[in-house]
Assembly symmetry: C2
Homo-oligomer: 94 residues x 2
DNA sequence: CTATTTTAGTCAAAATTTGTCAAGTCAATA
DNA sequence: TATTGACTTGACAAATTTTGACTAAAATAG
C-alpha cells in the first residue's frame, strides 16, 4: 500500500531503486522489500520520501499508518468490528 | 479496554486476581498488569476468559483486537484517517 | 496493626524486527 | 549465447521489543 505508492512515485520520476536507496542511506535490497511490503518503512523515511517526491506528508503518513494497522491485525477474526471500535474509542478520547 | 472488561467481569463474580491468575496459570503480577493495560493478553487467554465468564468470544476478541490496534497507532498523527483507510482497504480485499 | 491483595520495578530469556550480504531471476542487447 | 544492469530473495546476525518471573512497595480490608 505505502510501498506501492512509493514505487509509483519512484518510477514516475525514473529513479532507480539503488538511487533512491542511496538518498535514503539504506541498502537497495531493504528498499526493495519495503516497496514490496515485505518490510515496513520507518516514519523518518516516509517524511524524507515526502520531501523527495514533493508529496503531502499527511497522505504518505496515513498510508503508512494504515499499513501498520493492517499488519497488526492480519490473520485475526473480527477485524472490521475492531477497527470500528478502535475508531469510536479513539474519537471518544479526544 | 479489554483489561477493564476483564476486571469488571472478575469483580462482578468476586474473584481475586490471584484466583483468576491461577485459573489462567499465570503470575498474579502479570495479570494485574494485563487488566490495567500495561501488558497485552494473549489470544488464548482471551478465549479461556470467555469460557470462564461465559461471555461471547466475539465480544472479548473484538475488544482485545481494538486494543492491539490502538497500541499499534499510539502517538501517531492521522489515526482516524488511517483507521478509515484500513477499514476500506480491508473490506475491498474480501 | 496485621494480613491480604494489588501494583511497581527490575532483570534475563524469548520473540520479533532489522540490516547486510551473496546468490538468484529476468529482460535487454551485443 | 554471454554479458550487463535492475531488481528480488533467502539466510543469517545484530538490534530492539516483548514477555514472564521475582521481589518488594503500596493500598485495602479486617
Amino acid at each position: 500500500m505505502i510501498g506501492d505508492r512509493i514505487r509509483e512515485l519512484r518510477e514516475g520520476e525514473n529513479i532507480l531503486l539503488r538511487q533512491l536507496a542511496a538518498q535514503l542511506d539504506m541498502d537497495t535490497a531493504l528498499l526493495s522489500k519495503m516497496e514490496r511490503g515485505d518490510r515496513q518503512f520507518r516514519k523518518e523515511e516516509i517524511l524524507e520520501l515526502a520531501k523527495i517526491f514533493h508529496q503531502n506528508e499527511q497522505e504518505l503518513l496515513t498510508l503508512w499508518l494504515a499499513d501498520k494497522i493492517l499488519k497488526a491485525t492480519e490473520g485475526e477474526a473480527y477485524i472490521p468490528e475492531a477497527l470500528k471500535l478502535a475508531l469510536n474509542t479513539y474519537q471518544q478520547s479526544l
